[in-house]
Symmetry: C2
């Protein structure tokens, strides 16, 4: 199993432990006719889930590459683009960025990173990769 799949599956299990029904794995939607055939190249697959009439989409980022800041650029761009596409297609579904407890403590506590999250209203789901449990929601 690739590291990307390992993180993806841990988040899926964590959501289920938290009482969410995983309805779409992966969640398909299209950005646009022009780019739909290219959407999956290199991108993480989203998880769609529901609980108590709430619908969410979850973008899982492992941050296990060489450069956390480079991965952060990509994560933010992907998040904002996906959120805009979801607004047009499925406006009730709220998008979350899922990151591990470790990267949250080591990197997301940085002032600049927090400014970005606040400016663009990025919602976080923080999970424990070992316990496969959600430890924090930042709405």
């Amino acid at each position: 199993m690739s590291a990307k799949d390992f993180f993806h599956n841990a988040v899926r299990l964590a959501l289920e432990k938290d009482g969410w029904l995983v309805t779409d794995d992966p969640l398909y939607f299209r950005l646009t006719a022009l780019v739909k055939i290219r959407i999956d190249l290199g991108a993480e697959k989203l998880i769609g889930a529901e609980k108590d009439n709430q619908k969410i989409a979850v973008e899982v980022k492992s941050f296990i590459g060489l450069s956390a800041i480079s991965e952060f650029h990509t994560a933010i761009g992907q998040f904002l683009n996906y959120r805009l596409a979801l607004e047009q297609e499925d406006y009730e579904r709220v998008l979350y960025l899922a990151i591990s407890k470790d990267i949250h403590q080591e990197f997301f506590t940085d002032t600049f990173i927090q400014n970005v999250l606040e400016r663009y209203n990025i919602k976080l789901l923080v999970f424990d990769i070992q316990k496969e449990e959600i430890v924090l929601w930042k709405h």
Copy 2:
């Protein structure tokens, strides 16, 4: 010369032909103390230029990789993060995303891409890579 450097140099020459004084190549600024040592890993270097009391920073993107949409995610995240960092350090300097005429015609005319540019107020500088000339500014 790498493809990245080739595009970077073409934009620098195009700016000079357009009467800009290139003051910083690369333009250094820091995102934050935590991440400054990692800023250059994989990221394009910015060009700083001035003309008639205007100061700009230019992020050059080649879009010559396998997946234009993946590069677009990264370009948007990097642009928005750099713009936020510039606001804090050098608020007069306006950030532009430089792309070639070809990718502008083939990819940036897409409705979804245009929605993203409008939503996040992404300013474009479109250049002709062969002629090393600026063909369009989108402010």
